[in-house]
């Protein structure tokens, strides 16, 4: 269901540096102090302005054929998702956002300081990921009580799972109304720092329940987690 999250969401500075393209040397200790000051200033502003909200619903999962699934009345055709959800009988659909504030900060910074707008971009990306990890953790605990486990979350745009599913996922979750998550005509999410995902529920114990990059071909992606 819906949650308005009012605790601060941890922003891992190491990840922020990585998203900004620090190329391996993402150790806050060894980063230029001037830049670190800017980053911590931006992180504070982001904490202040963000309004994290999420919604999720649990649905039975039907396998309609090799590579074709049905969840919450939505038909999804994807080999990668099929592989991810192998053996699951249920799944969560979720949508989360840290709100429109970050977009204001990015726009604002792009006038005054392009560096800051890059930092906000990276810190916002990290914040929404971090928020999704928190939600995943809570959901994992909830299903654990039933002796169940979660597969790593999987989003439209990963592998061959098309972005064209976004309108249906958002409609089923009523995400526009519940958490203020909208789509533009070209299916870009607004606010920009938002995530929709499918999370399989399985009987098999799982090592990783957070995010699945293993099926993605973009091996040089800054956002990749291995």
């Amino acid at each position: 269901m819906q949650k308005q999250y009012d605790k601060p969401i941890p922003i891992r500075t190491r990840e922020v540096l990585r998203y900004m393209g620090s190329r391996g040397s993402s150790d806050p200790e060894s980063t230029d102090s001037l830049l670190m000051d800017k980053i911590s200033h931006c992180e504070c502003a982001l904490q202040e302005i963000s309004t994290p909200r999420a919604i999720w619903k649990r649905f039975p999962l039907h396998v309609a054929g090799e590579g074709t699934l049905e969840i919450g009345g939505i038909c999804m055709e994807s080999q990668a998702l099929y592989k991810n959800l192998m053996g699951c009988r249920e799944a969560f659909l979720m949508a989360a956002t840290i709100g429109p504030g970050v977009d204001l900060l990015i726009r604002r910074a792009s006038i005054g300081s392009i560096t800051e707008s890059v930092i906000y971009q990276a810190a916002g990306a990290e914040m929404i990921e971090s928020y999704c990890d928190i939600i995943n953790g809570n959901l994992r605990e909830a299903v654990l009580r039933e002796g169940l486990y979660l597969r790593p979350r999987f989003s439209p745009g990963y592998g061959d799972l098309p972005l064209t599913l976004q309108p249906e996922i958002i409609a089923v979750l009523d995400a526009e109304r519940e958490i203020g998550l909208h789509l533009t005509r070209s299916l870009v999410m607004a606010p920009s720092k938002s995530v929709t995902a499918i999370i399989g529920i399985t009987r098999e114990p799982q090592k990783n329940h957070l995010k699945d990059c293993s099926t993605c071909d973009s091996t040089d992606c800054a956002f990749r987690h291995d």
Binding site: G73, I111, T115, V118, R177, V188
Partner: protein, 856 residues
């Protein structure tokens, strides 16, 4: 009897949930409820009958999501059927004389610009279409509800006002902290909706009745318009795949009594509530004594998220967005450099402005379109309310129309012509208007005459239904140098506006000192006097330290700065700055001494070249004495140390270093110093370009990463600004023109902005077409301006097709133009596939590509 005859005279009961009731009748999740108006008429009628029999006064048509975007083919049929079903239900219930059909209007489902991609006027027209159909089908009123975004609410209200004459009610959604999704508060939304003259306003959805108590209370304190509260049946939970709410009808109606007792005028329910809930609410609330809403006489303006009340303390209105006497600003207006104009706004916000005055009038400029562009851009980056400052009626109307809030308007005067132009706009769009105390006879030389003009303005406004609290009288500060009594006359006018008229006042404070030296001294003293005389709003330069000191000191001394927070926050470091400045001066003095002692050839480096502009800081006026003292102390040591470094040492190239490390403030300062001894072009060639080269190469080699490259670019930009001022007017030598654009459908522009900053750094003129740019516009600009390089950015796989189309059109119509593409999804392979000349894999690639094309 119209609903307006009953509103504010008795309790008005609204209906409850629609979707939840229809789902219990078999509507499936994801199915559009409005289709049932045609396919399940009896069910929809029975939904209405349930609420009518429960005793509600106002019930909603099943049209929450009805608009052209969701129903491109059968919108008219759906909306007509909705009103017909409601009419039929009312007939069957025998309530034709005392129940009212509200045409229900919900959000469009799209996010408006700048957050999303739906333009404001398109939103207005989407709503107009629905409302015209509903009104002609026989609805009694328009109920705009569940609005998460004040801008969308404004579009809907304007549409209702323009499409019909029905009463308009509007309710919005808050979270538990009392914030709308886009940041609005009960106070800010009330200011805007009252400005738009809605008939009732309030809150619905998202929260249960208990959580709405504090929000309802805030409404009762700020609203002069009847208040509606329509809560959910508590917080939703999912039980066996079904949504259930945790507040039952008994508890709901008990809390409804508490809500009603706060002094609201209308109550009903939202998600999860049923006729049973409404029945119990009606039973309990109708026994309570009814209290009409009272006029609050508050003078307020608002932005999308902020409300500024005029009265409790003087309000600072930043005057810097104005071309008068500003060469650089005029240039920005002529070249359409919106970012420069915005930066003037943000600087004033940082300096403590409460409101920004916006004046973009300049001969030869299309003022209405420039005003629209600036207002639109400003409200996408700042939450400060704006003051629309223009004498051009079209510019005023267009700005007020798309302003996201209740604006301040500058200005009207007591002349008939002025009233006839301004007041209808204030009436329609809302606003607090500055009334210049002058009339057909000009500016009266006495306070008496100005007060008479003020009274005339109040009286004229009243004819348009504009209350006195929406007028602020300008007492007219006139230069004291041409008439020694003028300051006194102005101050007396201010005092009498407060004491005799019970009104608010405003002054363009700095006008007082025209023609005299050391204007800040007079301005700040006059400012203090005016505040003491009751000045409500001051149009000043908030970047001026003496003015802000006068302001903060006044607040601290008159008990308007609780715990001296504002004062301490601003000046706790005051002493420290003084000392720093003193030390600075000491170093300067020492360096100068040292300079005298060395052969003149070395002086060109600029280290010790004096500090012409250092006095700009907050310690400027009283720092001098201290500085001199310090200079005689340990100055020699530090000065000698700085200077002792040989020319090869990095410290001896402070500008180069400041840029390389990315310290913008220092870079600007060092540039000013360097310009004392070097020609502007030499400063560029010997410091800026080498520093940028070092950083650019470091980035390409992977020893520096993006933020460091950008910080250096920003420092270089700060330096360029100074050089540009120094060259005042003489045009920069540019390498060539480049178009940058994020392609159609894509609203992400950070990558493009990065490339822009770097290209400008490297001496290119960038024509930035923005984001979501159609191919035709890019082609047309490339041809018109004969641009050799076009840079395109796309973030999404879904928009790469538009990039491809843009390239196709460019190749066809402007084949000699080279194309570089970049963005998150772009790869070399992709770039080749869509026929680009270059794949800009990172920020520097595009710069290098342009250097290659332009042969630099």
């Amino acid at each position: 009897m119209s609903i307006l005859d009953r509103l504010n005279h008795e309790w008005i009961f609204f209906d409850g949930g629609t979707g939840s009731v229809l789902q219990s009748m078999g509507l499936t999740p994801g199915e559009l409820p409005e289709t049932w108006n045609l396919t399940h008429r009896e069910e929809v009628i029975s939904l209405h009958l349930g609420y009518l029999n429960a005793g509600c006064t106002v019930f909603n048509t099943n049209t929450f999501g009805a608009n052209r975007l969701r129903f491109p083919d059968n919108l008219e049929a759906i909306v007509r059927a909705a009103v017909e079903n409601a009419t039929e239900a009312r007939k069957r219930a025998g309530r034709e004389s005392d129940a009212y059909i509200a045409l229900d209007i919900g959000p469009t489902g799209k996010l408006l610009e700048p957050l999303g991609d739906l333009p404001f006027e398109e939103t207005v027209s989407l709503y107009k279409e629905v409302i015209s159909i509903g009104a002609s089908a026989g609805a009694d009123l328009v109920l705009i509800e569940t609005m998460n975004d004040s801008y969308e609410a404004k579009a809907a209200v304007l549409a209702a006002k323009e499409a019909c004459d029905l009463p308009v009610f509007a309710t919005v959604v808050f979270d538990e902290k009392g914030k709308m999704l886009t940041g609005g508060t009960p106070e800010s939304i009330t200011a805007m909706l009252e400005g738009l003259r809605v008939d009732a306003l309030g809150v619905n959805c998202s929260l249960g009745p208990k959580e709405m108590l504090p929000i309802a209370e805030r409404f009762t304190k700020c609203s002069s318009t009847p208040i509606i509260i329509n809560p959910n049946a508590g917080i939703p939970r999912s039980v066996n795949g079904k949504t259930v709410y945790d507040v039952d009808s008994e508890l709901f109606s008990d809390i409804a009594v508490e809500l009603a007792s706060l002094g609201i005028q209308g109550i009903g329910g939202c998600c999860g509530t049923t006729p049973e809930y409404i029945q119990k609410v009606r039973d309990k609330v109708s026994r309570l004594p009814f209290r009409p809403i009272e006029r609050k006489h508050r003078t307020v303006i608002s932005s999308f998220s902020r409300c500024v009340e005029i009265g409790p303390r003087p309000v600072i209105i930043g005057e810097r967005i104005n071309p008068t006497g500003k060469k650089r600003f005029k240039e920005a207006l002529k070249t359409g450099d919106i970012d420069y104009i915005l930066s003037q706004g943000l600087a004033q916000e940082d300096a403590g402005a409460d409101v920004l005055d916006v004046n973009v009038g300049l001969p030869g400029i299309d003022e209405p379109s420039m005003m629209t562009q600036v207002v639109k851009s400003l409200q996408s980056v700042t939450a400060l309310p704006l003051q629309i400052d223009t004498s051009n009626p079209e510019a005023m109307e267009r700005a007020l129309r798309l302003y996201n809030g209740k604006a301040m308007i500058n200005s009207v005067n007591a002349k008939k012509e002025s009233c006839e132009m301004v007041f209808p706009l204030v009436r329609k769009y809302g606003g607090v208007v500055v009334g210049l105390a002058l009339d057909e006879d000009g500016i009266a030389p006495t306070a008496e005459g100005r007060i008479a003009a003020a009274k005339k303005i109040y009286a004229e406004a009243e004819k348009y239904g504009i209350p006195k609290e929406d007028i602020i009288i300008d007492g007219l500060a006139m230069t004291v140098s041409s008439d020694p009594t003028s300051a006194n006359v102005t101050l007396e006018t201010i005092r009498r506006v407060r004491d005799e008229l019970g009104g608010h006042s405003i002054l363009g404070v700095s006008n007082i000192s025209f023609g005299l030296p050391a204007r800040e001294i007079l301005n700040s003293a006059f400012f203090t006097m005016a505040m003491q005389a009751g000045l409500s709003c001051a149009i000043i330069n908030p970047n001026s330290a003496p003015m802000m000191r006068a302001f903060r000191a006044y607040l601290a001394l008159t008990g308007k700065d609780s715990n001296f927070q504002g004062f301490i926050g601003a000046y706790a470091e005051f002493k420290k700055t003084r000392e720093l400045y003193a030390a600075d001066l000491a170093r300067e003095a020492a360096a100068e001494q040292a300079l005298k002692a060395v052969p003149s050839g070395l002086a060109g480096n600029g280290t010790g070249a004096g500090h012409g502009n250092a006095g700009n800081g907050s310690a400027a006026d009283n720092g001098t004495a201290g500085g001199n003292e310090a200079a005689s102390g340990n100055a020699n040591a530090s000065g000698a140390k700085t200077f002792a470094g040989a020319a090869k040492d990095a410290a001896s190239r402070p500008l180069f270093e400041a840029i390389r490390r990315g310290v913008a403030g220092k870079a600007a300062e060092e540039t000013r110093k360097a310009l004392k001894n070097q020609a502007p072009l030499d400063v560029v060639n010997e410091n800026l370009i080498p520093a940028l080269d070092v950083v650019g190469k470091g980035f390409e080699q992977g020893t520096l990463f993006l933020p460091q490259l950008l910080m250096a670019a920003e420092a270089a930009q700060a330096s360029f600004e100074v050089i540009r001022d120094a060259m005042s007017g003489s045009p920069r030598v540019l390498k060539g023109k480049v178009i940058l654009a994020t392609v159609k459908g894509d609203i992400h522009d950070i990558g493009k902005n990065i490339v822009k900053v770097l290209l400008e750094n490297y001496g290119y003129e960038v024509l930035d077409l923005g984001r979501d740019v159609p191919p035709e516009r890019i082609v047309e600009t490339a041809i018109r301006e004969n641009v050799p390089v076009v840079g395109l950015s796309a973030l999404m796989t879904t928009t790469v097709v538009n990039m491809k189309e843009t390239i196709r059109q460019l190749r066809e119509k402007k084949p000699d133009t080279k194309i570089v593409v970049g963005g998150a999804v772009m790869t070399q392979e992709y770039a080749d596939q869509i026929g680009a000349d270059c794949y800009g894999k990172d920020a520097m690639t595009t710069v290098r590509f342009c250097d290659q094309v332009f042969g630099k």
